[in-house]
Amino acid sequence: MADPMRIRAALAGDETTVRVLMSHPMEAGTRKDAAGATIPAHYIQDVEATSNGKTVLKAMFSGAVSQNPFLSFKFKGAAKGDKVVVKWVDNKGDTRTDEAAIA
């Protein structure tokens, strides 16, 4: 299974700010290795964040997103202790789901 994400969710007022660090090589498929062969594309394509069963963000990434992607977003309507679940799927079908409680 892929390496875990780091998710931090903090409530301030009525807004929860979520910061996610995903562990992924994010190979665009355009680089060449030392021998001149193209390094195959391997990158996260879809990210979905949910809280209390409701989708709070969907993202589509391209290979232009940096290695070990960072994602930050804000949403309303959650309380301390609620869980934020983040799931990513990459172009090879690998996936990773992690969650964090809102602090």
Partner: protein, 151 residues
């Protein structure tokens, strides 16, 4: 609706008709961008894939540094103060495939997202948002430099 049908509908131009006929719901219609959009090679094609020309708006901003020490990791984000912002896109004009990321913003989520993108060279970064079904954009230049030997 699966992806191949969506692609087929788009290319035949029946998409808009189906929306107006109420056969496809607004939320399905709203996901205008599919995987192929991320392969287009020019800014113009990226804008077309998103849905056409966007009006510049001072309610939309690109959040990015003026100068990046290294093009491999450049913080880029977008904010929109327009009500009912449902989609946000980040375009890096000079990248080989300019459309870099897209975000679907459901009700209750703030139109304020940040990520990090790769930039091959100094370039304009364009944020395009869809609010109330219409497109708006903002542009900011980010210079990319190679910092040097240390650090």
């Amino acid at each position: 609706m699966n992806n191949s049908r969506r692609v087929a509908l788009k290319t035949t131009g029946a998409f808009a008709t189906l929306v107006s006929l109420g056969i496809i719901t607004q939320s399905q219609a709203q996901a205008a961008v599919d995987r192929t959009s991320f392969q287009v090679k020019t800014l113009e094609d990226a804008l077309k894939a998103i849905g056409g020309t966007a009006a510049t708006s001072d309610q939309v901003s690109v959040v990015s540094p003026d100068i990046a020490e290294n093009g491999a990791v450049v913080p880029v984000g977008a904010t929109s103060k327009l009500p009912n912002t449902t989609e946000m896109y980040l375009i890096v004009e000079k990248n080989p495939t300019p459309l870099s990321a897209g975000f679907m913003i459901p009700a209750g989520t703030v139109a304020d997202v940040q990520t990090r993108l790769k930039m091959g060279q100094s370039t304009n970064v364009i944020a395009v948002v869809k609010a109330d079904g219409k497109l708006f954009s903002a542009t900011k230049e980010t210079k990319v430099t190679l910092g040097g030997c240390g650090g």
